[in-house]
């Protein structure tokens, strides 16, 4: 999930996101988006629950752009 934030709220948003267990990684960025968060869930219902009941309620997130990872490759 890419997030665009309002002004001067990054630390507050990061603290709120850290409380969510399913969010495994949070990175602050330079670019069009301010944060990148990696979310791990078992089901789409769980994903809906996190967004509807936790992430959407965080003040400071102006816009989010979510992608689902189909497959990963590492070396």
């Amino acid at each position: 999930m890419f997030c665009k934030l309002g002004l001067s709220v990054i630390n507050k948003v990061i603290e709120e996101l850290k409380k969510i267990d399913q969010i495994k990684k949070i990175m602050s960025l330079t670019g069009d988006y301010d944060l990148l968060a990696e979310i791990e869930v078992e089901t789409s219902e769980e994903l809906f629950d996190i967004f509807a009941n936790q992430i959407d309620l965080i003040e400071g997130i102006v816009q989010s752009n979510t992608h689902v990872i189909m497959k990963s490759w590492e070396k």
Binding site: K18, S28, I69, M70, K71, S72, K75
Partner: protein, 438 residues
């Protein structure tokens, strides 16, 4: 600790620091070439067998995806994209002979005719050489941390030189001129080893194998090291034969003669506890430790090779301390404390420099329709790319990049990725900070 495998690097360097103390008496009885030959031939054979056993255990006694021995050996012909596209077997020859064997030849020669402390200058000099090389090749800038740690290296070298000359004066001797020559040659060859050993690249098939079975990397590294060792020791024989006919220093010639005559006592030497220690605790175990660290490295900040280069200074520091404690080498206590302080500060400064220069970024990629296929594996081959995620959403791929300089980053994006026709758009996001990793 950021990554528990940092401890592997520390322990490996501590084990290596025992080598000078261990061989200081041995080299007066056995040819240094014979010590090197026995150490790396036996270690190479052991590591090779270990690689085969690992593969057989993985394939027959675990539920992991089978590792192909054929692929492991086909890799030997694969072109190394990070080392001028030479074939891997050429790369192993260069690393094995010019990196491992030559560096140890000059290391032991310096040790034999000078002192342990003086020989350790070679490590410090190589830090300076590599810094200059990186500035030239990568346009890596000389930030304040780099300037400071290089300055400290120069101080440390001058300090050791002072101690060496003082020791020679007290013993009524002179510091050998040949020692300086061997020292510089040792420095050059170990610099080559440090720079070259991590310039490895995987083929497409290998990246696929790694993603099917993460343990593929272990036998691959074992085979790389074992072949480097074995090729290096084999090449040593014709090298010494040719050298014997050239006008060379007398100490060199005596060592060559002693080496060839020593073959009749090969198994006697093999039974000596110092040789057994060298093989097990100074070669096999340290290399296994560092390669376990390499394949399991998960840190999102500095890479394994960066930490390895930061902590390499533990080896010479340890050797000098041990030389004072065990063989009572001359090194005034106050100067020893200053030296240790300099090295520890250098390690911290080096760490700060690497953290400052590393580039962590994510690339959001849009592909042309129907292009995804085997593209991720093709892209993953490039140096600096750690992970690729195939996405459903506004973008097709998310690429995680971790690379040691901005120049390498620009090369990756401008020369490598933008040249791929199927990539329509690249959006770059530089990582400021990893706020959470679990």
């Amino acid at each position: 600790m950021q990554n528990k495998y940092i401890l592997n690097i520390v322990i490996a360097n501590l084990l290596w620091s025992f080598i000078p103390v261990l061989v200081s008496d041995l080299i007066s009885e056995i040819s240094i070439f014979m010590i090197i030959f026995i150490r790396f031939t036996i270690s190479g054979i052991f590591l090779f067998i270990l690689a085969i056993v690992f593969v057989l255990v993985n394939n027959h006694f675990t539920t992991n995806k089978a590792i192909s021995l054929r692929l492991l050996f086909e890799n030997i012909r694969h072109k190394n994209r990070r080392f001028n596209n030479i074939r891997n077997y050429t790369y192993y020859i260069l690393i094995g002979f010019f990196g491992v064997i030559l560096n140890l030849i000059f290391f032991f020669l310096t040790l034999k005719i000078t002192s342990i402390s003086f020989t350790m200058i070679g490590f410090l000099l190589s830090v300076i050489m590599i810094a200059i090389y990186e500035a030239g090749r990568n346009f890596e800038k000389f930030d304040i941390f780099k300037v400071l740690y290089i300055t400290l290296m120069i101080f440390a070298i001058l300090l050791i030189l002072f101690v060496s000359f003082e020791s020679a004066r007290l013993h009524g001797e002179e510091v050998s001129f040949n020692g300086f020559i061997y020292l510089v040659l040792f420095s050059v060859s170990i610099s080559f080893l440090y720079v070259g050993i991590n310039k490895d690249s995987y083929s497409k098939l290998e990246i696929t194998s790694i993603n099917e079975n993460k343990y593929y990397k272990i036998p691959r590294f074992l085979i790389k090291m074992s072949l480097s060792f074995l090729i290096g020791t084999l090449l040593m024989i014709p090298f010494l034969m040719i050298l014997n006919f050239l006008p060379i220093f007398n100490d060199f010639r005596l060592e060559i003669g002693s080496f060839f005559y020593g073959f009749s006592n090969f198994f006697t030497y093999l039974g000596r506890w110092e040789i057994i220690y060298l093989i097990i605790f100074s070669t096999i175990i340290p290399y296994l430790l560092i390669y376990l660290a390499n394949v399991n490295w998960k840190s999102l900040n500095l890479t394994y090779s960066q930490w390895s280069s930061i902590l390499n200074l533990i080896d010479p520091m340890g050797s000098i301390i041990l030389s004072v404690l065990i063989v009572s080498e001359y090194f005034p206590f106050e100067l020893l404390v200053i030296f240790i302080f300099i090295i520890l500060i250098s390690i911290i400064l080096r760490y700060a420099h690497e953290v400052k220069n590393i580039v962590n970024a994510f690339l959001s990629i849009t592909l042309s329709k129907g292009a995804i296929g085997s593209l991720p594996i093709k892209i993953l081959k490039n140096y600096g790319i750690m992970r690729i995620d195939s996405l459903i959403g506004a973008h097709d791929l998310l690429i995680q990049v971790r690379i040691s300089s901005i120049k390498d980053f620009y090369y990756l994006v401008d020369k490598k990725l933008k040249s791929i026709n199927d990539i329509k758009k690249i959006e770059i996001y530089f990582v400021n900070k990893f706020e959470k990793i679990s």
